[in-house]
């Protein structure tokens, strides 16, 4: 058995760009950084990082979907391509906003970690192997734990990182244990082999335990209740760009990975057999997330925690999308995740800019944002309205697609249909808490003496691009949907 290394390189070209870029960033900083101002070093590192991301994006675009590669550990299909493009784009937006907003030492290391995390995301997007998937997941997670704790001057950052890490590590242990059981039951590590192995045996208790352990890992990545408890603390304590990445790209990549795992690994190939063993548990997670996320968000006076709880609620909708993706294909749920990621990135980047100028935690810190910076207020409004599902922003269509598929799957009386109805009813609640934030930003007068806010050029560009993408995807969803 041999392997064609040129094919391997072809398959992993985006990751190669990212890793090479990360090493270059570190090397360049080591070689030339001494004696330069911290700001200059940060700008250089960010520029190089942007180049690496752009190269990876170009490589992703250039690669046509070709099917299984790298000895069957990767599958380059439309899902992988769209997800890779999505995570790279989201990382690009986050990194572009970094210079001028995040004033941290060790900027080169920060950029390198961001690139490594993105490499983990792109690997997760296409892997069909438990082994590669686990390593990629850990690569992304470890880099994110570190990014969350990167602000050494604030105790909150360290605490957030430690809690995130602890929860993540326990979830990873559960996931690994689940993987070991799946391996034991089927003797295979690649998803097609696992599916074949499972088709040949009845559903055993051990398989159910393994499936639930996999769902624990998924629930952690997606911040689904009751595995969401880390999210509010991590979102609040982490530096805003890191939180943006955790909430957007990490979620998209995790969605793609677990979607593939559940759909092509843990579902019997027979089309009209009994429902897959994960259906019930996933439905429970989706329902819990919708209720808990929306209710808890209502009580929040802190913008970031509010975004975290709303993330839990959105995780419920995402899980609902996964639940019906067998029938509808991955299009709607990936569209949802991409547009949700965009809106979240926009909201967190607004907070990141504010962090550079006095901080923004409580709702009241946003008071008078419209006067202090119309751009920030406008972007925040667009992103929150998209999260709330108000047309013409893309969030509306994401909700529409997922809920419509769920209702189509069996009418309002079926399980997905009932969850969709619940989600529709709760979206009215969601609107309320988003409007509370918007009221502060758009309507309240600023605190006396609050200065105008200067938005750094990179952040401004990135914010405008985010809103433009939200609008473009909302009005022309075919840009994304026809890739499937």
């Amino acid at each position: 058995m041999t392997i064609d290394y040129s094919e391997l390189l072809h398959a992993f070209r985006p990751e190669a760009c990212l890793v090479a870029g990360a090493l270059l960033v570190l090397g360049l900083d080591l070689a030339t950084g001494r004696g330069r101002t911290a700001e200059r070093r940060a700008r250089n590192a960010a520029l190089l990082g942007l180049l690496a991301l752009a190269a990876a994006l170009a490589a992703t675009f250039a690669a046509a979907p070709t099917g299984p590669v790298a000895a069957g550990t990767m599958l380059l299909d439309p899902l992988a391509r769209v997800t890779r493009t999505g995570v790279l784009g989201l990382a690009l937006l986050v990194l572009a906003a970094t210079p001028g907003t995040l004033r941290l030492p060790h900027a080169a290391e920060y950029v390198a970690l961001l690139l490594f995390a993105t490499a983990g995301f792109t690997l997760m997007a296409g892997t069909t192997s438990l082994l590669l998937g686990f390593v990629a997941l850990e690569l992304a997670s470890v880099a994110l734990y570190l990014l969350a704790g990167f602000d050494k001057s604030r105790p909150e950052s360290a605490e957030a990182a430690l809690k995130y890490f602890l929860f993540g590590a326990v979830a990873a242990a559960f996931l690994l244990f689940g993987f070991s059981l799946l391996y034991g039951l089927t003797g295979a590590l690649e998803l097609p082999g696992i599916a074949r192995g499972l088709a040949a045996q009845p559903v055993s208790p051990l398989l159910l335990v393994a499936v639930v352990m996999v769902l624990v890992g998924f629930g952690f990545k997606a911040a689904a209740a009751p595995f969401h408890l880390w999210a509010p603390d991590a979102y609040q304590g982490a530096p805003a760009p890191a939180a943006a990445l955790i909430a957007s790209a990490a979620k998209l990549a995790g969605l793609a990975f677990f979607l593939r795992l559940l759909e092509s690994g843990l579902t019997a190939p027979a089309a009209d057999g009994p429902p897959a063993p994960w259906t019930g548990a996933l439905a429970v997670l989706a329902t819990l997330s919708l209720v808990v996320g929306n209710l808890a968000a209502l009580g929040q006076g802190n913008v970031r925690r509010l975004l975290a709880y709303s993330a839990v609620a959105h995780a419920g909708a995402l899980l609902l999308g996964v639940l019906v993706s067998g029938r509808a294909g991955p299009g709607p749920v990936v569209y949802y995740a991409v547009t949700y990621g965009l809106a979240t990135v926009g909201a967190f980047l607004v907070l990141a800019v504010l962090d550079g100028q006095g901080g923004a935690q409580a709702h009241a810190d946003l008071a008078g944002l419209r006067r202090r910076s119309p751009l920030l207020a406008g972007v925040l409004a667009a992103c929150l309205l998209s999260l709330a599902g108000i047309p013409p922003f893309a969030g509306f269509l994401g909700k529409f697609l997922v809920f419509a598929e769920a209702l189509k799957a069996g009418g309002p009386a079926s399980l997905p249909g009932a969850i969709a109805l619940l989600a529709i009813a709760l979206s009215a609640v969601a609107l309320y808490y988003y409007l509370i934030v918007l009221k502060e930003a758009l309507v309240r007068a600023p605190a006396p003496g609050a200065p105008a806010i200067r938005v750094p050029a990179g952040a401004a560009l990135s914010l405008i691009a985010t809103v433009a993408l939200l609008l473009a995807l909302g009005l022309l969803p075919d840009l994304l949907l026809r890739r499937f």
Partner: protein
Amino acid sequence: MSPLQACLVFSAALFSLGLIAVLVRSNAILVLLGVELMLNAANLNFIAFWRYGPTPAEGHGVVFVVFALAVAAAEAAVGLALVIALHRHQRNVHLGDARRLHG
């Protein structure tokens, strides 16, 4: 109880032991070690399944354990670095004291 089942019960016990450590101990370093035990338990499973499984020649279990060991090492390093970072701010490593973020 077949030997394979014995191995699996052994690993289940180790996994639960690690989990209990995570849940009960308040020193962050011991909590991390509990997580390491949980990862070790999963590795025991891989080896046991490889030993008694249908396709030992493929060596999937062994390969996975090699990677899992590397992952565990990375997690340990990062976890301990985070514990030290927390120690810098609160001068101890009690998880119960890390409650700035809540609600």
